[in-house]
């Protein structure tokens, strides 16, 4: 479903992604862990081209992006329709109601009529347990509720892949639970997911594979139980110890 080959990205002379390659199957849930500055967010943001990689190749579904060539607008559009993204800081549109947040891109990008968009939005709000908040504005909602709406908003585009960048890091642990529950359900439904997370439990229980990043590269990956409980790389050992001790 996703294939990344030799992806490189630098800011100035600071190399952030140093030739990353990874293959992700349809329906697979990949948890990405690693220390701050490892390049996890950058990799995720390169996948939907919020960040422009310097070189390498990204394939998502049928869409292929070869860099450093110019990316056609059509490619950009299909790529972003194929991959939905959920941000650490939710990024709901504060001037729009919850319902409008979920409906806007359905109408504008997918060309759904208002009625169909409304119906789909309500289904998704139901799915994340927030149908009763359709008329509220984001500022009225808790962080956990906002994040679940952000998930519904991304799902409304019928993506084939969902990218999550630390979706619960800005939340109180308790509020994060509702978000994680929605993500579990999504994983169980067969969605292909790439989740950058510090939630070791989530990685353990839900993911099919754990990928450990450090210094702009993948240093270890494999079965969650193996990587999380008996990592081979000393760097992974140190990182996991630090996460668990905290």
């Amino acid at each position: 479903m996703i294939s990344v080959a030799n992806l490189k990205k630098s800011y100035g002379d600071h190399t952030v992604l140093d030739g990353v390659s990874i293959e992700i199957q349809r329906g697979e849930v990949v948890a990405m862990i690693g220390p701050s500055g490892a390049g996890k967010s950058t990799l995720l943001r390169c996948l939907n081209l919020l960040e422009r990689p310097d070189s390498g190749r990204i394939t998502i579904g049928d869409t292929v992006v070869d860099l450093p060539a110019k990316i056609p607008v059509r490619t950009l559009e299909t790529l972003r329709k194929t991959a939905g993204m959920v941000f650490q800081s939710f990024n709901l549109f504060p001037h729009l109601s919850v319902l409008r947040n979920v409906s806007l891109a359905q109408e504008y990008v997918l060309g759904r009529d208002a009625k169909a968009a409304h119906q789909r939005s309500m289904e998704l709000l139901e799915r994340v347990g927030l149908a009763d908040k359709a008329g509220s504005y984001p500022a009225r909602l808790s962080g956990g509720q906002q994040q679940r709406i952000a998930i519904a908003r991304a799902l409304a585009m019928e993506p084939e892949v969902m990218l999550f960048d630390e979706p619960t890091s800005a939340l109180d642990p308790e509020l994060g639970l509702d978000v994680l529950a929605v993500m579990r359900e999504l994983a169980a439904s067969g969605m292909t997911m790439v989740v950058v997370t510090h939630e070791i439990h989530f990685a353990q229980d839900v993911s099919d594979r754990v990928v450990m990043m450090a210094d702009g590269g993948i240093i270890e990956q494999g079965d969650p139980a193996q990587v999380l409980s008996s990592p081979a790389n000393p760097r992974t050992q140190r990182f996991l110890k630090a996460v668990i001790d905290r």
Partner: protein, 219 residues
Amino acid sequence: MNGLIEQWIDWLPSLVDGLGVSVQLAVVSLLIGLPLGLAEALLVASPNRIVRWITLAVVEFGRGTPTLVLLYLIYYGLPSQGLVLPAFGSAVVALSFMTGAYTSEIIRASLQAVPRGLVEAAAALGINRWGTFRFILFPEGIRIAIPALMGFAIQLFQTTSLVFLITLPELLSRAYSIGSTTFQYTSVLALAGVLYLLVTLPSGWLAALLEKRMGRHLA
């Protein structure tokens, strides 16, 4: 005291007429100047260097030149170039130009103050640049800009008093002409001041109210 009240009642119709001209001038200048300001704000961020420079020059000229100089240039200067504008037209041109320049800076800063994350969220949903501007950047930016724009509008309204120098019969020039026939300058100017306040004070309250309402949904 009675005399004063009677005088004021005598003068009021003429001054209220003048106030009408002042308000009209301010409103028309805003109606032209605000879209101009938006256009300038967008063009200043144009990827084309030449467009950017020209816009920047226009903005800096509009902000850097005293309004009175603009007014004189247009009313007295343009006729020497073969273009004669009536006093009201000249005033509208000068004040709109000035409004465009000042509000473009307010609007530009406000658009920049819209959190990057919102623009990224729109991009991640596949919304194109125009859609992002129309549905996200513009509405969010305007909310940020409203207080400063209202403040500017009130200031502009006061600035309309400058046009008495090109003999447009607005509030201040009415007051002056009454003063020059009755020699009651202090009295008539005080009344004119009260009339200005009757517009600026409620506008200020309205601005505060609007700011509160607009901010309601925002965190």
